[in-house]
């Protein structure tokens, strides 16, 4: 790879930067256009703190999804795991268990769900798509079963739990109202930091990338592929459960389907992020950009009063456009 790259004509080398940064440039253009259309509201600190809070749940799922996608795997069960985690915590709150018990059981469910995914993929040898499609259905069924299909809300949800999604660090005042740096954003940034350290700065992370490059070669080189893959799925499950708790806190309720939308958006965010990488590998900072693109489009298009169905089509089109042109340019290389 490296040797081949040095043989590239200088003209193409110049374009490489542009090719890698195309998604980033596109993102900046989106920001500029939204700013021009909503001059007084879009490019403001409160709005961006607002966006950061809105995407925090998706961000945590997408960061966690990045871990398995580094190996070329998927986890389709993250959305229903998020729903299940919210339901478990809410049911324990309803049973008047302490806050910590509800949260720990929900996170434990994420680890166990991830363990099941990891065992199926790593040791039983089912493809991730099929294995996690199966567990998606199982987790979703469990969420319905435990909750009896109903939404758990109101007095069952302690105020300290739902309050988390509304608090933050005071960082000033705007129009005589306190401006908060949202706690949800802080939590998402902490998860980002941990996963960045794990993937980019540890042997474990480098081995996951090695598995993604060539699992067989990694195995022959002495990497314990099965165990590492199992752990990766557990971490993704843990991330999904964390996001489920954040979601439940934000809506002060738990519903057996509420996490369902997170899975496809998370995969989309990772793919958008991959267009930034020369090798087309997922990196968690790229995923962050992907998440921001989705969140900023939602926010800006709402402010521009674009019909919500048109918005969906645009977002889908932008994902396909970015990933298509990135893969075309890589093929033409």
């Amino acid at each position: 790879m490296d040797a081949g790259r040095n043989l590239l004509p200088t003209r193409l080398k110049g374009n490489r930067w542009l090719r890698r940064s195309g998604t980033l440039i596109g993102f900046l253009i989106v920001v500029i256009i939204f700013t021009l259309n909503n001059p007084s509201t879009f490019l403001t600190l409160p709005n961006w703190l607002n966006i950061s809070q809105q995407v925090s749940m998706l961000a945590v799922v997408a960061f966690a999804m990045t871990i398995v996608m580094v190996m070329g795997d998927f986890d389709l069960s993250v959305g229903s795991m998020a729903s299940l985690a919210g339901i478990l915590a809410a049911l324990l709150f309803r049973a008047e268990q302490p806050l910590a018990v509800g949260i720990l059981v929900a996170l434990g469910a994420g680890l166990i769900g991830g363990l099941i995914n990891g065992l199926l993929v790593s040791y039983v040898g089912i493809t991730p798509f099929v294995a996690t499609l199966g567990t998606l259905t199982i987790f979703s069924g469990a969420a319905f079963l435990f909750s009896g299909g109903e939404t758990i809300f109101g007095r069952d949800i302690p105020a300290e739990f739902s309050g988390f999604a509304r608090t933050g660090l005071p960082i000033g005042t705007v129009n005589e109202r306190p401006l908060l740096f949202p706690a949800m954003t802080i939590l998402a940034l902490v998860v980002l930091g941990i996963i960045w350290l794990l993937l980019e700065q540890t042997t474990y992370g480098r081995r996951l990338y090695a598995i993604g490059g060539n699992a067989e070669a990694a195995r022959l080189a002495g990497v314990r592929v099965r165990l590492l893959r199992l752990i990766a799925f557990m971490l993704t499950g843990l991330g999904a459960a964390t996001a489920g708790l954040m979601y439940a806190s934000r809506v002060a309720s738990a519903n057996p389907t509420q996490g369902a939308g997170l899975m496809l958006d998370a995969i989309a965010a990772v793919f958008l992020g991959m267009t930034l990488s020369e090798e087309g590998e997922p990196h968690v900072l790229g995923t962050l950009l992907g998440v921001l693109i989705l969140g900023v489009l939602d926010n800006g298009l709402t402010q521009m009063q674009v019909d919500s169905y048109v918005r969906e089509i645009l977002i889908g089109g932008i994902i396909i456009g970015a990933v298509t042109s990135s893969s075309l340019s890589r093929r033409n290389r």
Binding site: G26, V251, Q305, V306
Partner: protein, 311 residues
Amino acid sequence: MRRLSVVLAVLALLLIGGGVLAQDAPTVAVITPYLAQPGTQFVVEGFQTAAEGTGWTVNVIDTAGDVAAVISRIEDVVNQGVDAIVINVDPAQVAAGLEVASAAGIPVFGMDAGSDPLLVTNVTSNGYAMAAETATYVADRIGGAGRVVMFVFDPFPPVQKRGIIADTIFANNPDIEVIDRITPDVADGGIADSRAKMEAVLAANPEPGSISAVWAAWDQPALGALQAIEAAGRQNEGIVIVGIDANPQALDAIAAGGNFEASVAQDFAGIGAATADAVARVLAGETINQRVIYVPTVLVTGANVAEFLGD
């Protein structure tokens, strides 16, 4: 470069689309996760029709079932500085967004949403009145005397309200006896389990005429009871069945002229129109004291079911 041009083309379209928006007329955002459901569609269309003459810019936002996204969109339109927000979702679940709107001084209206101190008002149907309509229909129809089976669902407050009214009306008729007050399992939609429960009641009361009526707090149990009665071959005993909500299946059953005799239809378009009226009053500077505004409902029987089937 190709990617850039794709993005640019999309954005150029957006710019054109965004540029033509009127900036001075009041802007009202209507936010719901449930636009795919027929009832919500009628409500939103009723709102849009009523808003047509006002010159408002109405921005309808559907989050496709995602309740957290409703909070996000409320935050977005608050930031954008809309003049009013209308929601069609349980306000307790989007309280985080309502607090943001309230802090910014933007009025939020519930359109068939639920009551909440953070809403200016909620426009909906009166659950008590709907139950009173069908319970009195039953009491009158059986001449104030007979044995009645009730299907209720107390865990869900809007339906619990209906049951409590029917209880009162039946209790006020000394010759009406409620022989069973059943809470069906609703996990499968409510029809199948209600049918099973009704089959058990029929088995326990084998004498013809031993059951006079079935009062159901919503249509699904009424449909389940109808299936049980027909399957048992007891449809000619004169058992009167009533439901509430007038869903399409119930309307068909009423039109067929069998035991299912009545249900209550909410005036969804009317709820939308009354919400638009409430928004207009507040934008004109009026204060609304009514925490809930009720829009009248209509009792549907064989006499008028044809009007509803046309929809």
